[in-house]
Symmetry: C2
Amino acid sequence: MLSMVERGGDDAREVGRLAHPLGGDAYTIGLTGAPGAGKSTLSTRLVAALRAAGDEVAVLAVDPSSPFTGGAILGDRVRMQEHALDAGVYIRSMATRGHLGGLALATPQAVRVLDAIGFTWVVVETVGVGQVEVEVAGAADTTVVVINPGWGDAVQAAKAGLLEVADVFVINKADRPGVEEASRDLQHMLDLSAEDGGGAWRPPIVPAVASKGEGTDQVLEAICSHRAWLEADGRLEAKRARRAGEELRSILVERLAARVQDAYRGEAFDAAAAAVLAREVDPWTATDALVDALGQ
Amino acid sequence: MLSMVERGGDDAREVGRLAHPLGGDAYTIGLTGAPGAGKSTLSTRLVAALRAAGDEVAVLAVDPSSPFTGGAILGDRVRMQEHALDAGVYIRSMATRGHLGGLALATPQAVRVLDAIGFTWVVVETVGVGQVEVEVAGAADTTVVVINPGWGDAVQAAKAGLLEVADVFVINKADRPGVEEASRDLQHMLDLSAEDGGGAWRPPIVPAVASKGEGTDQVLEAICSHRAWLEADGRLEAKRARRAGEELRSILVERLAARVQDAYRGEAFDAAAAAVLAREVDPWTATDALVDALGQ
C-alpha cells in the first residue's frame, strides 16, 4: 500500500480513501534538522524507548534528494538490524521518484496507512531542512528539531524556519563543546519570537548524545509533555482540524486546477472563443457558460 | 465609458459586454519602446498622416507608472493642441490607479469601447518597455517598436522581449550617428530568431526623425504592408482568434480563482473539514462534494 501511495495518482487516492476511516489513533512525531545532526540515530533510540513501553512504532524516513525508491537505502538496512526481529517496528524510506512536491503529498497518505494499520506511534524523519522537509516534519503532532552544539547552529535553525515548527529542541552530540551557547542562542530567539500572553507552548531544549543513548528518555519525556499539553483543552483536536482543513484545501486546489486545464482544452472552449470572435457573444457571458459547464 | 473601464469591476465588465457586439472593424497599432525614444512624437505624426487620409483615430497612452487618472497628464494636453479642433481624433491617457496588472486588463476593454464607437484606427502607445507595456502593445494587430541609434539599443530591445512582439522597427532620431549599426544589430538578431521556412513576416526596419516629420510616411507604409500581409490568407483572423482565446482564458482564470476563494471560506468547507476529522468521510470524497457545489 505504501508503494501505491508513493507512486501517486488514482491508486494512492484509493488507498487513502480506504485507510482514512480506520485511523485517528496514531500519534505522529516529526523529526527534522540539518544532515548529520544525528536524526536517524535519535530516531532509532526513540523507537527502542517506545518499544520498551510496549507500543508499536513505524518510522518513515523521508528523503526528497534520494533517487532510490521505497525501503532500499543503505542507512535503513543498517538501522533495520537493531529491530530486524521485532514485529512491532516498521521502518521505511520514502523517496521522491522525481515528482516535485510528491513527498509533501505522499507522506501524509503514508502516515494515514500506518495509522489505519494500527501503529500507535509514527515517526516521520527527514534527511534535511529544505522547504518540503520542514513542511513534512512540521505536519506532525509533535515536531522535534535536532541541532548540534556550535556557534551559529541555532541561527541556521531559525533561518530554515525551524523555530516556527519546533515543539521540542534536541541539542544532539552534547558531549561536544558549545552546548551552553547553542542553548542560550535558542532561548534568546525563542524569547524574541514568543507570542504575547500566557498559554503558548514554549519548546523545551533537551541535550542528548544519541550515539550513546544519553538523553533519550528526556527527549521522550519532552515529547510526552507536549502531547499532554496538546491533549488538554482540545488543542490536539484543533491542531488536527487545522491540518485536515489544509489537506482539503490542497486537494481542492489540485482538483480545480485540473478542471481549469480541461476547460482550456475542450471543444466548448474553442466554440466559445469562435463565438466571441464572431461577436455573437461577449467574453463574460461566454465565460459564464464555461464556468457553469465545469460544475457538471 | 473609458473611466468606468479604468475603474474596473462590474461596471467595466458591463461596458465591455455592451461594446463587444458593436466592434470588430478598428485596426489597432501598438507603439512601444524605451522612455525618450520618441513614441509620442511618432504617434502624433502617425495620427496626422492617418487623418490626412480621412480616417478617424483614437490614441490610448498607457502609463503603468503614472499616478494620474484618465486624460490628465501634461504630455497629452500639449499633444492635444495639435489635434484640439479635430473631432476625428481622440487622445486619452490610461493610468494604473494602483491595480497591479490593471492596465493589462483595462486596455483591451478601452480598445473595445473605441472600436465600438467607430474609430477606424486605435493607437495604443506605452511609455516604457516593462512586462505589462510589452504585453499591452504586443496585443495590437500591428506592433511598432521604436528604438534610437546607438550602440546596444538593439540589444536592449531584444532583452526587453521586443524582438518577439515587433512587426515594424522604427529607428527614430535617425539624424544622429549610429543608425547603420543599430540597423545591422537588429538585422543580425532577426536572422538569429527567424523561423525556419518561408511565409513568416520579417519586421522591416524604418529610419525616421519624428520630430521633423521625416519617415512618417514610410512608417505608415510599413504598418500598411504588415496589415495587408495579415489580411491575406486569414492571418489577421487567426491572430485575433488567438487573442480572443487568451482573453477568454484570463477571464476564466479570474472567475475560477474567485470561486476557489469562495470554496475556502464557506460553511460547506468548514463542515467538510469537520466531517473529515471525525472520519465520517475521506478527504477526496469531501472534495468531490465541494467541487460539485462550485458549479451551482
